[in-house]
């Protein structure tokens, strides 16, 4: 049986094919993305006698990139886990699976499931992977800071190791202490640190990068605002304004 017939039989004839390039067929099966577009599956015979490759031509990650980038090690790790656990493979951003002709239909369903799971990674950004905040912030810092020496997880007062700041940037005579704030407890910790440093008369500038300032209780916003010289309301704001703020401090 031809591999196209095998797919047709699996879908009970509710499938169509279009030869996109010589020997490369696009499968028109009733499996859809959220927006109603069909999931892209291209099928072709590989060099092996009876082996068929199903692949996405990189379109899954292209779609994902509309509003979600695999731009951190953690996101890449999650992506690779989805690939591995769903029995498909990935090379140069193309997802694929090889199958014998008689197994091509179940392989296609397996492939479609993997593609759908990768596509749903965009929701991790809003919900599940909120814990990526610190990793994403770290990445923005690394990109933004070109010629300014900095350290992570530093205690500016050696005899007070509990007063740790997330970043210390060496800017002129006044270092910048940056606290990354996710949640109420961290907000309180940031405020306590800065107020203690003030009492100890340390020279510093206090920056706070919030995961989302609007999520904090009103009292926390008040105490952080009193203690900080500059705040970034969320990661987008930090990404845009932190490099400018750093430049301004360097110019002072």
């Amino acid at each position: 049986m031809d591999f196209l017939d095998s797919i047709r039989e699996g879908f009970n004839n509710r499938v169509d094919f279009k030869e996109k390039r010589p020997g490369v067929w696009s499968v028109r099966a009733p499996i859809y993305h959220e927006d109603g577009d069909m999931i892209d599956v291209f099928v072709e015979r590989t060099n092996g006698d009876d082996t068929v490759r199903l692949r996405d031509a990189g379109l899954t990650l292209m779609r994902l990139s509309y509003d979600y980038d695999l731009n951190t090690d953690n996101k890449r790790k999650i992506f690779q886990e989805i690939i591995l656990k769903n029995g498909v493979e990935e090379e140069d951003d193309e997802i694929f699976i090889d199958a014998k002709t008689e197994n091509v239909f179940p392989a296609m369903m397996q492939f479609a499931q993997a593609v759908a799971k990768v596509g749903s990674m965009r929701y991790f950004g809003r919900e599940v992977v909120r814990s990526l905040f610190y990793e994403q912030l770290d990445e923005i810092v690394a990109k933004s800071v070109k010629n300014v020496p900095y350290q992570k997880n530093v205690a500016p007062v050696p005899e007070r190791p509990e007063l740790e700041v997330d970043y210390r940037f060496e800017v002129n005579s006044k270092p910048i202490f940056l606290m990354a704030v996710r949640g109420s407890n961290k907000a309180k910790q940031a405020a306590i640190n800065f107020l203690e440093f003030r009492q100890l008369k340390l020279p510093y500038r206090a920056f706070v990068a919030h995961e989302n300032l609007g999520d904090l209780p009103k009292n926390d916003i008040t105490i952080v605002t009193r203690a900080a010289d500059k705040q970034f309301t969320d990661l987008d704001n930090f990404r845009t304004d932190f490099p400018r703020a750093l430049e301004a401090e360097l110019a002072n």
Partner: protein
């Protein structure tokens, strides 16, 4: 899913005059299987901010998408519009392979623009770019788009 915008707001966000905050890169960013470019906009009245994305598959160039995400400052981002190439069928235009535009269908809100309308106004990527910027009310200026039509 909670709807943060009314249909009227979505339409106003698409149609209002805009200014460029961050222009497109002069060169497309080449990924292993697609190329991409991006820009940032805001509404002329400063109420809304936008991220525009352009994507084109390397192997199947007819598979492209030009889209815009927008938000009122302080509210969540949402994809407002996507202008797609004739890449393949859609649930709503099953038997055709036409360029199509995805809009938000507020009655069937999923968080992604789900309503697909086939269009005759463009076929190639360059034509689609012109169509898209007209749709979002941003005049094409050579100052900002000079490098856009050049292939990398």
């Amino acid at each position: 899913m909670v709807a943060h915008y009314t249909q009227e707001e979505i339409e106003a966000m698409i149609a209002c005059p805009k200014v460029i905050v961050q222009p497109l890169a002069k060169k497309w960013d080449g990924k292993p299987k697609h190329r991409q470019n991006e820009m940032e906009l805001r509404s002329a009245d400063g109420k809304y901010e936008y991220k525009v994305f352009l994507r084109q598959n390397v192997e199947f160039e007819e598979n492209f998408s030009i889209g815009v995400r927008g938000r009122e400052k302080g509210k969540p981002w949402m994809t407002l519009l996507r202008v797609n190439g004739p890449h393949g069928p859609n649930k709503e235009i099953r038997h055709h392979e036409k360029p199509h535009v995805h809009y938000h269908d507020f009655d069937n809100f999923t968080g992604d623009p789900a309503l697909a309308i086939p269009v005759e106004d463009y076929f190639s990527l360059n034509e689609a770019i012109v169509y898209f910027f007209k749709k979002i009310n941003l005049p094409i200026s050579s100052d900002y788009f000079g490098g856009l039509f050049a292939r990398t």
